[in-house]
Symmetry: C2
Subunit: 211 residues, 2 copies
DNA sequence: TTTCGAACAGAACATATGTGCCGCGTGGGA
DNA sequence: TCCCACGCGGCACATATGTTCTGTTCGAAA
C-alpha cells in the first residue's frame, strides 16, 4: 500500500490541476507528456495507473481526457474552489491555533475565489458564544482567517490579548508603544492595549453566516 | 444578434451541465448526440457552433471534449457552484425588488453549495449604510436572499415596514394580529408591528463580509 | 410559384488519443 | 551470479472523436 508519490507523479498531479484550472477540461495523455517533459506516452499511462491505484485520480478507460481529480482518499474534488479546513471553534477564552497545518480539520468548507481571493493557507473557525458581538460576529458564524504574525494598519485581525487571555477580532492600528483596537461596529469605542500585550494571530479574510 | 436559444440548444446546454457535474469532464459530440436524442453528429456540431456564437460555450477546435461552459456573456463559469446575481443595494429606505428575475444583475457572485444550499432563485444585495447594524450586518456586507412572500416563524426575513418605508432584517415571529421582529443581536429588544404593516420580502439565507 | 437560408440527416474523412507490445537499464534479493 | 520487478522509451495499432461534404426538408419572403 504505497501512499508515496514519485517526483514524476507529483509533477503530473500538479500539471493536471493547472491544466484543468486553465482549460476547464482535462488534458490528454500527450498533453501531459509535453507539459511534464516525459519521453513517452506509455510512461504517462504507467504513472496514471499508479495514481489511480493510489486514489488520486479516476479514469474512464477508452475515453479521451477522462481524468477526474480526486483528493488521495478517493474523494471527488471540486473545481474552481478553494478547500478551507474548518479547524475548530473560536471563543473568547481560547487562543487560535498557531500552526494551523498541524491540526486535523474536522470539516472542509468549499469557498469560491470571490470570497477567498487568491490567498493561501486559509483556515476557518466556528464562532462559539456571543463574545465577538462587538465585531458584528454572532454565535455560529464562520470566520475565515489568513495566518499571519504581523498585520498592516487597518487590517481586521484576530488578536490574542495576553493578560486577559482573550481572543478578539478588531481593526488594528499600531500607535507607537500601544495598539488601538477598533471594533468593527463603528458606534463603539476603541480599546487601547500595550503593544507587548497584543499578539497578532491572523488576518480576517471573511465572515459567513448561514441560516 | 440572436440571443434566443432553440429548445434543442437549451437541451444541449442542460446536458452539458449535467454531464460535467457527473463526470467532471466534458462530453464528446457523440455523447451529446446520444444524451439528447439527436440524429446526427453534424446537428450537434451545428448547434454547438450556434451556442459558441452566442457566448454560452467555448470550444477548442480539433481537441476532443474541449468544451468550456460560459454564462451567455462570454464569461467563464465555475463548476460546482451556484451563480447568484447581485441585484443592487439594500438600504434602510428602499424596498427590495419584488421580482428579482426582472432586474439585470450588476454583478454575479459564485457561491458553493456549502453556503447556498440547494435553494433556487437566490439573489444577493449589497448593504449600504449601517442601518442594519442591529442585525449584525454592516455597511458593505452582502446578504443572500431567497425570494419568499410568506415566512415560517423563526425565519430571518427581510421585512418591509410599510408605514415607516423601511427595510429591516429580523427574526420573524407572528403573534396573532401583530408580528414580533427580533433583532439577531440577542442583547437587543424586539419590536412589534401590526401584521398588516409588515411585508415579507424574502428569507435571509446567508450574509458574507469580505475584507 | 420560386428562392433562399436555417436546421437537419447521413456518411466519409482526418486525426487526436488511449492502449498494447517489445525491449532496455538498473537495483535488490536469492 | 542470475533473476525479476520496476520504471522507462519507442512505436504501432485501433478507435474515439471532431470535421466536412452533399443532400433533404421546411417555412418565410419575393
Amino acid at each position: 500500500m504505497a501512499d508515496e508519490l514519485s517526483a514524476k507523479q507529483r509533477g503530473i498531479l500538479q500539471f493536471l490541476e493547472d491544466f484543468i484550472a486553465k482549460h476547464d477540461y482535462p488534458p490528454s495523455i500527450r498533453d501531459i507528456q509535453n507539459g511534464c517533459d516525459i519521453s513517452s506516452t506509455s510512461v504517462v499511462d504507467y504513472n496514471l495507473k499508479r495514481l489511480e491505484e493510489k486514489g488520486f485520480i479516476r479514469r474512464d478507460r477508452e475515453v479521451s481526457r477522462a481524468i477526474e481529480l480526486l483528493d488521495g482518499q478517493g474523494e471527488r474534488r471540486r473545481r474552481g474552489t478553494v478547500q478551507v479546513p474548518v479547524l475548530g471553534k473560536i471563543a473568547a477564552g481560547i487562543p487560535l491555533p498557531v500552526h494551523p497545518d498541524q491540526l486535523a480539520p474536522e470539516d472542509v468548507l468549499d469557498l469560491t475565489e470571490d470570497i477567498a481571493g487568491n490567498r493561501a493557507g486559509l483556515y476557518a473557525l466556528r464562532v462559539q458564544g456571543t463574545s465577538m458581538i462587538d465585531a458584528l460576529i454572532n454565535d455560529g458564524d464562520i470566520v475565515i482567517l489568513e495566518p499571519k504574525q504581523v498585520a498592516d494598519p487597518g487590517d481586521v485581525i484576530a488578536a490574542w490579548i495576553v493578560d486577559r487571555e482573550e481572543t478578539t477580532l478588531k481593526k488594528y492600528y499600531p500607535e507607537g508603544a500601544r495598539v488601538r483596537l477598533q471594533p468593527m461596529n463603528s458606534t463603539m469605542e476603541p480599546i487601547y492595549e500595550d503593544a507587548a500585550n497584543v499578539e497578532v494571530q491572523g488576518k480576517l479574510v471573511a465572515t459567513i453566516r448561514a441560516f
